[in-house]
Symmetry: C2
Subunit: 556 residues, 2 copies
């Protein structure tokens, strides 16, 4: 082997830093760069084909750097390979249209999903793969290591130490992978201060800091106005609490985003209390600081919450409830998406979320035609963590139900994660949630994917919860039983109407399907009066005025 130089990466880094120093001249002081020179900096440190992470998180966005990247000279910077968790801003796709970027590996593109699909169809973008968040971070350390990362923080000090504030999110994972692989880290900050409230990212790991003209964008993605929770959602939440949480004694859990799970959070201090469940369920959470959790926290249900990111308006509440949240010495939240996803995967007994479509195998997906969106964290949390070895009553019981009476490898005792899909049988515009075939299959053809984009596999789903009842798939022993169990809670959808009534009644006798009345729940009691907060104003009141909802959620 004639290779003699094995430190080309370090040399390349030195070259890039030297080019930056030259390009910036007096616009640079130490690690600090003037905002007006950001274009020169990017053009100096980037090379065609570079792998680049532009921090597009679930919540906070490196928006100034996104605009700057969209503005670089495409003759100098092009064909970049973007590796970032979320596509959220228009600039995240503009760079593909202009040729600055060519290839994309990502996790979620919610707001840009339709445009992304059009770009892929037009050949304007190569998609590497769609990942769950922790999976993408994992690849940062294997085969998708960024060469340049453009990140966002709240503040920097003179040395370049960063304070992310409550939205630490993806930043530590991105920076660690980049800084320790000879890459270059550029941070936009809202302010430069003499002394940081705390250090989230050491200056050592950061090459350049730019104070952006405007604070970085953050979206309040996890705020749900209780006024919009329906009585059907209250009924479903009652079934979740009594038929699943209490049944298994679920103490550690993650909730998906949405009104269904917000209803559960708001029923804990009322309905949950009436069932005597306080202390027996829902004590430890892997969850962003959901405003809907405030009444349960105030009522003493919640011991700890570790968070992926933060939530706008919850800053003062979190600071005042330091016993519950992970906070720094400054009192503000320290979130961390990588660790919280690990917690959701390995330390939680239950994941409950929603979907747009579920088929007769129990496979479910939010992917719809004409959109390429990805699933964010759901696949990681909505999958059985087969590497898990510690037991809990909930996990053991689920495993026993799944394995009782089975032989061979499938009969070896093992726990199992509870993965609940909570869906109304019809979603908006009377689209059925239950279908014979997922749109995902057609989408696979359309976009040339290796596999259909399934969010949660039927093999991993343990319970399907609709307004008609709960189907416990753990107790099904054949494909036919599973199919009838799903049909049996699919209501008046075509799938539901095509049920074999005798088979469904048999499943009900065996407790595989449970209706509200089987659970001792009277649907007439499922009123909005059960909600611990019925409006945003109630949430603010429950928080003793500490929660400050963003303007769009206030009507007073």
């Amino acid at each position: 082997m004639d290779r003699t130089n094995w430190n080309t990466r370090a040399a390349d880094r030195t070259d890039r830093l030297a080019r930056a120093a030259q390009a910036l001249g007096k616009a640079r002081a130490g690690k600090h760069v003037e905002a007006g020179s950001i274009g020169e900096l990017l053009e100096a440190v980037m090379q065609p084909g570079d792998r680049v992470c532009l921090e597009g998180n679930n919540q906070k966005q490196a928006d100034f750097l996104a605009r700057a990247l969209a503005d670089v000279d495409v003759s100098r910077v092009h064909a970049l390979h973007m590796v970032q968790s979320v596509l959220s801003l228009p600039e995240h796709l503009d760079i593909f249209e202009s040729g600055i970027a060519r290839r994309l590996d990502f996790s979620f593109s919610g707001p840009q999903g339709a445009r992304l699909a059009r770009l892929v169809a037009a050949g304007g973008i190569e998609i590497g793969a769609i990942h769950t968040y922790l999976e993408l971070f994992a690849r940062y350390f294997v085969d998708l290591t960024p060469k340049v990362s453009l990140i966002a923080a709240q503040a920097a000090d003179a040395a370049g130490n960063l304070y992310t504030g409550p939205n630490t999110e993806d930043t530590p994972a991105i920076v660690e992978a980049t800084a320790f692989a000879g890459g270059i880290v550029i941070a936009q900050v809202n302010e430069v201060v003499g002394a940081l409230p705390r250090v989230d990212i050491p200056a050592d790991w950061v090459d350049f800091v730019v104070q952006a003209p405007t604070p970085s964008l953050i979206e309040p993605l996890f705020t749900r106005d209780p006024a919009q929770i329906s009585e059907i959602q209250v009924l479903m939440a009652m079934m979740a609490i009594k038929g699943i949480y209490a049944e298994y004694g679920v103490q550690r859990l993650n909730h998906g985003i949405g009104f269904d799970t917000a209803a559960i959070e708001l029923l804990l201090p009322t309905y949950g209390e009436s069932l005597g469940l306080k202390g027996r369920i829902c004590s430890h959470w892997a969850l962003n600081p959901h405003p809907a959790l405030i009444p349960a926290i105030e009522a003493g249900w919640v011991k700890t919450v570790h968070s992926f990111g933060s939530e706008l308006g919850m800053e003062e509440y979190v600071r005042a409830r330091g016993d519950v949240f992970f906070t720094g010495a400054d009192g503000s939240l320290r979130s961390n998406r990588a660790f919280c996803q690990a917690a959701g995967h390995y330390a939680c007994d239950l994941f409950i979320g929603s979907t747009l479509q579920m088929d007769l195998q129990g496979d479910s997906s939010t992917a719809t035609l004409g959109r390429i969106t990805g699933f964010g964290g759901a696949p990681n949390m909505g999958a059985d963590a087969r590497g898990r070895r510690h037991a809990s009553p909930a996990w053991l019981k689920a495993g026993q139900q799944a394995r009782a009476g089975r032989g061979g490898a499938a009969g070896t005792p093992r726990g199992q994660k509870l993965v609940v899909q909570m869906v109304e049988t019809f979603r908006e515009h009377m689209a059925p949630a239950f279908v014979e075939k997922l749109d995902a299959w057609e989408l696979q053809q359309q976009a040339g994917m290796d596999l259909p984009p399934i969010m949660i596999y039927g093999e991993d789903v343990t319970h399907v919860l609709t307004e008609e009842g709960i189907a416990n798939l753990l107790l099904c022993r054949t494909d036919e039983e599973r199919e009838q169990a799903i049909r049996g809670v699919a209501g008046y959808t075509a799938v539901g109407l095509a049920r074999d009534r005798r088979a469904v009644e048999n499943l009900r006798d065996r407790g595989v399907i449970r209706r509200p009345q089987d659970l001792g729940i009277d649907p007439r009691e499922a009123t909005r009066n059960l909600l611990a907060a019925r409006s945003m104003r109630d949430l603010v009141r429950a928080s003793h005025g500490l929660y400050a909802p963003p303007k769009r959620f206030r009507n007073w």
Copy 2:
């Protein structure tokens, strides 16, 4: 709800710090504490029943702090709940015998496994659970958050910033969970310096720093002397490379510890090269810097290696091969067990390891009677990562083989991780590796465990590789087929002799079982001459003198 103070954790922390300040007096300067006062510090900041993490890593040990903890006044500090990944030093158990600690949650106790079992049997210790590493770290953020953490680093500066050197290992996960939950972090360091080579842990996250009288202990756990590799291991390594790595095109992988996998590493530049596989397999690794990988790196096989920890003696080699390893600006390795386990779980297509026992379901375990050891990282890497959504040829092919012709949920297309168990049919003292029933079942009874301590479940194993051949369990369709496939490579063990010869020949015809000759491998060619290094000296030579093996591995 009458709770008025929700920041008791912060107040408690302030109290403890005040007690420490008082107890230490002039023995403290800023965060720095004199070594002779470590006992006063521990007694001041700890309270009975505290959850404590004593950094007992896979490799480096906070040994000075372990001794100090074993020496505290048990009337002041007792009934601690220890949450630490590895029990390695005698002090890790001494504290249970003396009553300083009572409860234990951990991952691995290799060297202390027998003593741990005796202590449990005598009622001297309550075991919470045994975890895989990432699972334990995940629980640090949910229900096992440490109140006090005792960690080890290479150096500190005056402010208390820490440099871990190449063995960063668990430290970032431990410190983050503790520091952001109102806990107290105490670090032992080998030296205090004016300027650190790099910052691994910000001073903000550290409360006290003590310079230990002697450098912290580190074990070279991943060094295997090529002189001890047998020709049977060479044959098995040839089968692994040709029959599995080449067959699936495995580019991203993790190797377990041991001579079997060291043989594979040493055959890449020789046998692998002769098959034209360079560039087609084994480019990206989640692996400690194994000395046995040096010849493959030098021959240009390896693009990147991300590491859980480091390996003694590899420091200069890593520094000189910066293009391959994750290193800081100082040139030394930055390892990170949490991220590398995430990489092993989500970004690798194959895990290959060894076991002591495998049963007819394919369940395997290294747990043996009279010892409670745990499995470290194996369960996390030796399990199908069901949350994974990105495709690769290896993963897709494994998934296709597992699902072809299946209906229902099991028939939905999905990729699968390759999980290979590589075992000789007999281990030392002629103990058979294949058994009708794992010792794990008796151990479960003995230790009152909820489940038998199984390391890798048969449901997750895809290939069993012995000197007799490869059994591809992905292709088995019934419990009976799987059993015969395992018997068919179990050689002259009782399990192997009890095979149904016709069934086994049928499996061979179908390619479920493949013998060396079926793979075009002549066992006579399996000689030690194929190894790219046949001694420690050869490894040093291959490294151009950069690898400096610890004394115990040198005989020259």
